[in-house]
Symmetry: C2
Subunit: 256 residues, 2 copies
């Protein structure tokens, strides 16, 4: 049995998120169906992130253990041809050690939250950017984003109903840039709590609007109080941009 | 009764083209439905171009004669709020002379045909660019595009079943540029025959592939023979970019 790692991307508009659900089209569900059609196996597809409905991935990894004999260099095209929807793209496949797990062997993730500032929403941005009619202060947002960097308990930036052991995460970089009508918040960390990027983005909008001062953001983090931070922004503007796997996971001896 | 001109844009993915049809979602149909909901009138909406299913418009104009009393500066938002799908955006509305007609008072149109060159189709380009796996020779395509410029009988670049009086059109500019993975053919003219841009784009692909030499394009135009030109490309990559109305049409006295 081989353990295979796939590099993928998907446009989230068409999906009710990553995770398989009865009666809903999901990325994991569509991959599972295509896998069954191609190989006859019922696979356990492990994704690097459980993205919500409507969230996009420019880069995504998933791992699958399989007895299928399709060569790795042919697997992406073969799986795509097994009626995978065009909103899911498969770029690469490689064999990885048996102990490799796309979810747990993730070292870094970079997300982008994309805001389109315009009087009228562009029809080409529907589902692909959060539409904002008012002008934004990208410089102030960028200053506030900088305060996310470091190792913190991000309880204030986590959906209230989340049950995880530790809410401590390390943010390596966080910045807000403006390109044409788009104001983009890009954040890289070792992991993200449920809704964390969307709550960070909502907090930055409050900073832009003057509802929260830049210098108050550190105390919001310290408070660990979800109600102190901004709103949870809609999924449309959220992109998983880049995923870095632990290099050691590619070389370790088989665990199983 | 006022004659109103609206500036709009739409993402063609969601529509079976501009023109109203029974049992199909079209741009004109959705605008008509929203107009009826807002005003109670059954409008005759005149579009600047009868775009095909799947074709996009970054800029589009339509004119409507109406007894509705909604002020022009409020009309775009009011019509949008009457359940217009978000894939149609309305930017501006102005009153124009009674004789103004968005179809016949068009002076220039610019189209873009957008080709994404990559081994794997990006999920974000589905329906929004033509996907091409092979490398393209954008310089050679650009040289060939230049030969379209001028006033010619474009019968060779017109769907065979088109019945129009004259197939003479003037092309003001035509060029092929490369930006990242995209090769874009941009063409501006006083008018375009049915499928003309898509056949021009297909001909430029043949030029890139060496099936047609750059210096043979003028003789293909002269031949007036549809079979001498390239294939009709799919609608996904086609954008109406810009529309210029005759300035005189805005100032003329009322005709009716």
């Amino acid at each position: 049995m081989r353990n295979l790692l796939f590099k993928a991307a998907f446009c989230g508009e068409a999906f009710h998120g990553w995770q398989m659900q009865a009666n809903a089209v999901t990325v994991q569900g569509e991959l599972t169906n295509a896998w069954e059609r191609l190989t006859g196996e019922h696979p356990n597809i492990i994704g690097c992130s459980r993205t919500d409905a409507g969230v996009h991935a420019r880069e995504y990894y998933f791992s699958v253990k399989t007895d299928a004999t399709v060569p790795v260099d042919r697997f992406p095209a073969a799986l795509t041809s097994a009626k995978l929807p065009p909103a899911i793209a498969l770029y690469e496949c490689r064999e990885v050690p048996q102990g490799f797990n796309a979810r747990f062997d993730c070292e870094k993730k970079e997300y982008e939250y994309r805001i389109a500032v315009s009087d009228v929403q562009s029809p080409f941005d529907v589902g692909r950017a959060f539409w904002c009619r008012r002008q934004l202060d990208a410089e102030r947002m960028n200053a506030a984003a900088g305060t996310f960097v470091g190792t913190h308990d991000f309880s204030a930036f986590c959906a209230a109903d989340t049950d995880v052991q530790s809410k401590v995460r390390t943010i390596y970089s966080a910045e807000v840039t403006r390109t044409g009508p788009y104001v983009c918040f890009t954040v890289c960390g070792d992991g993200f709590l449920y809704n964390m990027v969307r709550i960070m983005a909502g907090t930055l909008l409050y900073v832009s609007d003057g509802k929260i001062a830049v210098e108050d953001v550190p105390s919001i983090i310290e408070s660990k109080d979800r109600t102190a931070a901004g709103l949870t922004m809609p999924p449309d503007g959220l992109y998983l941009n880049r995923v870095v796997m632990k290099q050691s996971a590619f070389t370790e001896d088989e665990k199983e």
